[in-house]
């Protein structure tokens, strides 16, 4: 990947425009919905504070200091402030933009390594997790538990260890056929964007999504050569890389000639839908990006748009649903997954209090901002406990990792699943392989 030179024109294009912060009248509405404000109770950790810091930094009365940037990185990017602001200011977007500015002015070497080297190509990320998979498969992990070693670790390390999910023997991407034929008559061709985290960690969810789509008359094309959606690079201030990844992904799906691009990852979905605005000022790509973004659907959205066979089986469980930020606010998708769950006989749905509050994952905040992330998570877990549900459904791998880490040792019997997995269960499809040549179904036991 060619590094892009940081000329003044580049900086100008990534710096937030005056109109993005100038009209903030500091009413304070955003404080009431911000998870980092709720834990710290300081203006500095609030959306309004981040907007003020942005403005003062852009106007030159404050330096772009490590502390100022630190406040931008402390944002969970849950976008609750973006949604509530009556003026139309988007504080979470501003925090992201300021990360880009910081990265251009003072590039960090480790980010180059991580984002240009590792996450750039999905397959490289998969190779890099080999040691983790060995830790899992060699029995070392079981040994750690049996000896109680996990209990003597400091809480922080213990939580991180718990966040390491049960990895499949091989990433789904390696074993998934590129074409999964529809069961019976094919009524549409669907492109499937298999996200890195889904492929690596929650393959069971993606397998379920594929089976349910095939069952409902869709021929699914799942290209292997896609790249990371770009969200991690964007979150860590490398917009340039995210744009490159976007262009490559658009090309891949253009070649397939599909009408719709489906993903079962909330984060990938919101990023793919955002390609249109990310590339909106690139004359060579604006139209292609807009055409691509219009085709993108979350799996729950897609299944709500097509005629769906009523599942015959029952799932006798009390289920609650956690709204991923990237689905609820990133894509305004929150009715659809609940509607899918309501199709299932026997399933008792209980609405989760504060369902649309961030779980504290925000991609990697449990690693980078442990204390705040843990407190936000604890509140989420208390709310889950109050529902008495045995299953939490949520369509985002980052949320699911976070919830699984939190539930371990606290409520081990509570399962965390993608909503489409329950639909799959109700169809009685669970465990069957999607198409010939598929890997061993059920190899991934993430619940």
């Amino acid at each position: 990947m060619e590094p892009i030179q940081a000329g003044p024109d580049v900086l100008e294009s990534i710096e937030p425009k005056e109109s993005a912060y100038y009209n903030c009248i500091r009413c304070g509405l955003c404080l009431a919905v911000c998870p980092t404000y709720r834990e710290h109770l300081t203006e500095t950790a609030s959306p309004r504070g981040r907007v003020a810091l942005t403005r003062k930094s852009m106007e030159g009365s404050l330096d772009l200091s490590p502390n100022l940037l630190g406040q931008m990185y402390s944002c969970f990017d849950c976008m609750a402030c973006d949604e509530v602001c009556p003026v139309g200011i988007r504080p979470a977007d501003l925090a992201l933009a300021m990360r880009q500015v910081g990265e251009w002015r003072r590039p960090k070497r480790w980010k180059r390594l991580l984002f240009e080297g590792l996450i750039g190509k999905a397959c490289r990320l998969e190779a890099a997790t080999l040691p983790l998979r060995l830790y899992e498969r060699s029995g070392l992990r079981r040994l750690v538990y049996r000896l109680g070693l996990d209990r003597i670790l400091p809480a922080r390390i213990r939580d991180l260890e718990a966040m390491l999910p049960r990895l499949p023997q091989r990433p789904l991407r390696r074993v998934l056929p590129e074409i999964i034929p529809a069961d019976g008559e094919s009524r549409r061709r669907v492109g499937f964007f298999l996200g890195c985290a889904q492929s690596l960690l929650f393959a069971g969810g993606s397998r379920a999504a594929l089976r349910v789509m095939a069952r409902n008359g869709s021929t699914v094309l799942a290209p292997k050569e896609i790249e990371c959606c770009g969200m991690p690079a964007l979150g860590y201030g490398r917009r340039d890389l995210a744009l490159d990844q976007a262009r490559r992904n658009i090309e891949v799906f253009e070649r397939l000639g599909v009408d719709v691009v489906v993903t079962d990852c909330a984060t990938c979905g919101s990023m793919l839908k955002d390609y249109a605005s990310l590339l909106g000022e690139d004359p060579a790509w604006a139209r292609r990006a807009a055409a691509f973004s219009r085709k993108v659907r979350d799996i729950s959205e897609f299944l709500s748009e097509i005629p769906l066979e009523k599942p015959g089986g029952r799932v006798e469980q009390r289920v609650t649903y956690h709204d991923p930020c990237h689905l609820r606010r990133g894509q305004k998708v929150w009715r659809e997954p609940r509607r899918l769950l309501s199709l299932i006989d026997g399933l008792e749905f209980v609405e989760l209090p504060e369902a649309d509050w961030c779980c504290g994952s925000a991609g990697s905040q449990l690693i980078t901002h442990y204390d705040t992330s843990r407190k936000v998570l604890d509140r989420k877990l208390d709310n889950i406990a109050s529902t008495g549900a045995g299953i939490v459904a949520s369509g985002c791998p980052a949320c699911r990792m976070q919830l699984l880490a939190g539930l371990r040792g606290r409520a081990d019997s509570v399962r965390v699943v993608h909503p489409v997995e329950l639909l799959d269960e109700a169809y009685g499809l669970r465990g069957q392989d999607p198409g010939p040549g598929g890997g061993r179904g059920g190899a991934c036991k993430e619940e």
Binding site: R26, C27, G28, E43, A52, G88
Partner: protein
């Protein structure tokens, strides 16, 4: 000084980086004043220690909650000083269902208090538009109002007693759970609306009432702002006392429609939001119907009663968002808070429109018309010195118009920094002198929120 503060509240309770000081230099207005440090006490004892330290060192103290105030009352006004931020004193200490009273710390968010008492079948009526991002302490310091004041009264009507740290660090307890109390001066009332200039309120004992079981909300739309403002008096004169009677003009409606997409008609010149409440469903329904009839008689084009809780919540969310959503139209706005006898409402509305026309800057009119409290908001661009100068003259005229009909500067925002120049004109020299001597008696060193209220 930082170290001394850290000794009192611990390291995580003191903020002093350039970034911290920058974000604690503003509240809900455009005014700014930078503190030397920010301290977040967790107890009354810590607050008293902070005050003693400040008295010894002669450092100004500025009390602050969530910083949503609209008079720049919670920013340092005299250069430097310590902001005492009460957001971490946010415990609800007691909800006494028998005596219908709640004891809370100053940093409790008003909406959280309301939710907690409503779960017990009780009701805390004061409802400033900032309920979700304002604290009880700030509400008391400004004697905050809100739409429901029309029927239920302002914050001060619900304060039974206070715990106040005085300027020398002593802790004063006022009032108690009895509703009747005439033993001595009413110190509770004195500290309510004192804007942090007489003492620091750390706890409050609040009166609760029974929760009304039914509420109905209607939206009345008018082709003429004049008809809408006349309807207010027509409704009240018939003996109907709605919980709220809110007025908003065309610009206000257009702004919230753009922000929230509720389907409000864009071509009406004004709307009223009317809510009736009570424990007798028939009576509540009867009153909303009567109010609707009167609105139609006064020229309302359409009266629509919200049919679902969602619709009703949407109307109130819209009403609460008017003020901030105006920033969509201009980079700056100055929201005033005049209050007039309600018979003068149609006249003052005419006058506000005349002032707007004379200066060529938009004045958006909305507010709690039922209790005579209007929020004319002047929209302008602060980068243009010509506009800034016009705004100053317009504010003078608006205040003049309110005072001329027996009204006052501020119904619920307070004086703070912004209305300081007009303080004496509103009150007269005798009242100001009496208030100054109270201030001197309680804060002889002038360390409590100096530079506010009094034009010195």
């Amino acid at each position: 000084m930082i170290q001394a503060l850290e000794k009192i509240v611990g390291r995580d309770g003191v903020l002093a980086t350039p970034e911290d000081l920058a974000v604690y230099s503003y509240d809900g207005t455009f005014a700014e004043g930078r503190p030397q440090a920010v301290v977040l006490p967790r107890t009354t004892g810590q607050t008293a220690d902070i005050v003693r330290l400040a008295a010894r060192e002669r450092i100004p103290l500025v009390a602050r909650g969530m910083g949503s105030g609209l008079a720049a009352g919670s920013i340092p006004a005299t250069g430097g000083g310590i902001v005492v931020c009460f957001t971490r004193m946010n415990r609800i200490l007691e909800i006494d269902t028998v005596n219908a009273a709640a004891r809370v710390e100053a940093g409790v968010v008003t909406a959280d208090l309301q939710a907690a008492v409503e779960r017990k079948g009780l009701f805390y009526p004061p409802d400033p538009s900032s309920i979700r991002h304002a604290t009880v302490g700030g509400n008391i310091a400004c004697n905050a109002g809100g739409p429901r004041c029309l029927k239920y009264g302002v914050t001060g009507n619900y304060v039974l007693g206070l715990t106040v740290v005085l300027a020398d660090g002593r802790v004063l307890q006022t009032g108690g759970k009895p509703i009747k109390d005439v033993t001595g001066y009413n110190l509770t009332a004195l500290f309510t609306s004192s804007e942090g200039t007489l003492g620091l309120v750390t706890e409050a004992l609040l009166r609760l009432v029974a929760r009304p079981r039914y509420a109905m909300t209607a939206l009345a739309e008018y082709d003429s702002l004049e008809d809408a403002s006349r309807s207010v008096n027509a409704i009240l004169s018939e003996g109907i006392v709605p919980a709220t009677l809110e007025l908003m003009d065309q610009t206000a409606i257009a702004c919230i429609e753009e922000a929230m997409h509720l389907g409000l008609a864009a071509d009406v010149e004004a709307s009223l939001i009317i809510e009736t409440d009570g424990s007798d469903q028939q009576a509540v329904l009867g009153e909303i119907e009567a109010a609707g009839r009167i609105c139609r008689e006064q020229g309302a084009r359409r009266v629509k009663v919200a049919e679902t809780e969602e619709e009703r919540a949407g109307l109130w969310r819209a009403r609460r968002s008017i003020s901030p959503s105006l920033a969509r139209l201009a980079p700056n706005k100055l929201g005033e808070d005049i209050t007039v006898p309600r018979s003068a409402i149609p006249g003052i509305v005419r006058k506000l429109r005349a002032i707007s026309a004379a200066y060529g800057l938009p004045v958006v009119i909305f507010g709690h018309a039922g209790d005579g409290n209007l929020h004319p908001n002047i929209l302008f661009d602060g980068r243009d010195p010509g506009q800034r100068e016009k705004v100053e003259r317009m504010v003078g005229e608006i205040f003049g118009a309110a005072l001329a009909v027996g009204g006052t500067l501020s119904g619920e925002h307070g004086v703070g920094v912004l209305k300081r120049p007009y303080f004496e004109a509103a009150l007269g020299p005798v009242s100001v002198a009496v208030q100054r001597s109270i201030k001197r008696a309680l804060d002889p060193l002038n360390i409590l929120n100096p530079g506010k209220m009094f034009a010195d």
